[in-house]
């Protein structure tokens, strides 16, 4: 439970810091810290129900600070968390290039889904090419920032007394036996 509250606090702090950071950086260059926290937590989380509730809470919080429809980020972050959790159980995505690639793809899919939802509910036109190019750049920035956020989430887990943060960081053992 302690870890849940800590992750919620980290996610909310990420949203607020991101809002301040956006005043300095143009939109594509500003990493989506709120989404990064959700994805990185999803890769390490074990209890699905509590994690979904956490992602939903952070998503709805993002909706209050964004120009989106209320519930848009809520829905998408729940889906992002679930996909991270499922992918994290099948593959080792906790660090390095796999993590960068996964976050890049997840951010891009997140943008497409956000555009589709806006189009469905508000009957708006499709995003222009310039926005998509910015979206790809944004996904790349998110991917590059992911290892740092993942490290922060891991440290938070360790600090909260979650052994998972340490013991399962390298789950693949060597098959070579000592002679």
């Amino acid at each position: 439970m302690k870890k849940w509250w800590l992750c919620l606090g980290l996610g909310l702090l990420a949203l607020v810091v991101q809002g301040a950071l956006a005043t300095l950086l143009p939109p594509p260059w500003c990493p989506d810290l709120g989404l990064l926290v959700v994805l990185c937590v999803g890769l390490r989380w074990r209890g699905l129900a509590a994690g979904l509730a956490l992602a939903g809470g952070l998503g709805f919080s993002a909706d209050w600070l964004s120009g989106s429809l209320v519930g848009q980020h809520g829905l998408l972050r729940v889906l992002a968390f679930a996909s991270a959790l499922i992918a994290g159980r099948q593959l080792n995505l906790r660090a390095g290039l796999p993590l960068v690639a996964f976050v890049f793809a997840a951010t891009l899919l997140y943008g497409i889904a956000a555009a589709l939802i806006s189009q469905f509910f508000l009957d708006m036109g499709w995003l222009p090419a310039s926005v998509w190019l910015g979206g790809i750049l944004h996904a790349a920035i998110n991917g590059l920032c992911a290892p740092w956020v993942a490290a922060g989430v891991r440290l938070l887990g360790v600090w909260a007394g979650d052994e998972d943060g340490v013991s399962r960081a390298l789950p693949i053992e060597s098959s070579r036996r000592p002679v």
């Binding site: 607020v16 500003c30 939903g56 600070l65 964004s66 120009g67 829905l75 979206g135």
Partner: protein, 328 residues
């Protein structure tokens, strides 16, 4: 039995969250269409309230860095800019004199009196404390809310032109949907030819002006102003300047690219116009500031008024324009 319930917990939580998100999106869309009230109660606006001081503190070092860099850049080009500005002042002064003469000669004093109401729109200064947390939307957070008299539907401007529209308020904060947002559509006119059309946000740095080809006279460099129709924005506020015209290609509707007047990259201080159009008052109820705090107001001479437009009765009921979706 507990194991069975535990297995069901995750799907149930997932379905509940998806259901809540869908319902809130549908409800929010209803609010946009004018069926609801968008002033948040304090318990729902608490995140906005908490965000303001933290974002201000977090932004302080970045702002200082940006200011220092901006001052250096300003110094580099200041001499050339000074020369350009001086020559522009001379031109503008001449133009101003000509306009005044034309007004007096054309007995337009009655029109000026009719527009007095526009000039006297109370302005509430506000500071931009945060930007949208998602790169897919364009909104900002300002440090004034419904306890200062700010309500959903109030236009937000700077001395350069229109910034956007208040979409949500909490007691001490408000969210402004920028004109750049894809959900923003404004009824607009070309200042020179009075050609009317719709100005849409694209989610990027430019806007799109849609107008009917046959009846319109639109050229690159034309200034786009609010038409005042629809009830969201007062008439005569500067929106942007046409930078390119796209070929109609046989279509009845032509599209022009518009550069916004406001420099959204340096948006710091804005003014909330504490007045909504008559049709918005029908939607949101009477526009009365909270009685316990008198808003810190500025007189409204910053509101640029299109002096060439013919006078129209402002109190007549107009077709209701939605904040985010509007079709010609």
């Amino acid at each position: 039995m507990p194991g069975f319930l535990n297995r069901l917990a995750a799907p149930i939580v997932f379905l509940v969250l998806v259901l809540i998100a869908t319902v809130t999106m549908v409800r929010d869309r209803g609010d946009i269409a004018g069926e609801g009230h968008r002033d948040l109660p304090w318990w729902r606006g608490v995140l906005l309230e908490v965000a303001i001081p933290i974002q201000r503190a977090a932004a302080a070092p970045f702002d200082a860095l940006g200011d220092a860099w901006g001052r250096y850049i300003d110094l580099v080009g200041i001499q050339q800019e000074n020369v350009e500005l001086r020559s522009r002042i001379v031109l503008l002064e001449q133009e101003n004199l000509q306009f005044r003469e034309a007004l007096v000669a054309g007995e337009h004093l009655e029109r000026i009196a009719a527009m007095r109401d526009d000039f006297e729109t109370p302005m509430l200064p506000a500071e931009v404390v945060g930007l949208d947390v998602s790169p897919w939307f364009r909104s900002v957070l300002v440090d004034r809310g419904n306890q200062h008299g700010v309500r959903a539907g109030h236009p937000v401007v700077t001395e350069q032109g229109v910034v956007g529209l208040i979409t949500r308020t909490s007691p001490g904060a408000a969210k402004v949907m920028l004109v750049l947002d894809r959900q923003s559509t404004i009824d607009a006119v070309v200042q020179r030819s009075r050609a009317r059309g719709l100005l849409r946000g694209l989610g990027a740095g430019e806007l799109e002006f849609e107008f009917v080809v046959r009846e319109s006279d639109v050229e690159v460099g034309d200034l786009i102003m609010t038409s005042g129709l629809g009830g969201l924005y007062p008439k005569g506020l500067r929106l942007g300047q046409i930078v390119a015209l796209e070929e109609p290609g046989g279509s009845l509707v032509q599209v022009a690219r518009v550069r916004p007047m406001v420099d959204f990259g340096r948006l710091e201080q804005v003014f909330v116009m504490l007045r909504r159009g008559p049709s918005l008052d029908l939607l949101y109820g009477p526009n009365t500031p909270a009685p316990h705090e008198k808003p810190e107001l500025l007189p409204g001479p910053t509101s640029p008024v299109d002096s060439e437009s013919p006078s129209e009765p402002s109190a007549a009921p107009r077709p209701i324009e939605t904040a985010r979706v509007d079709r010609p």
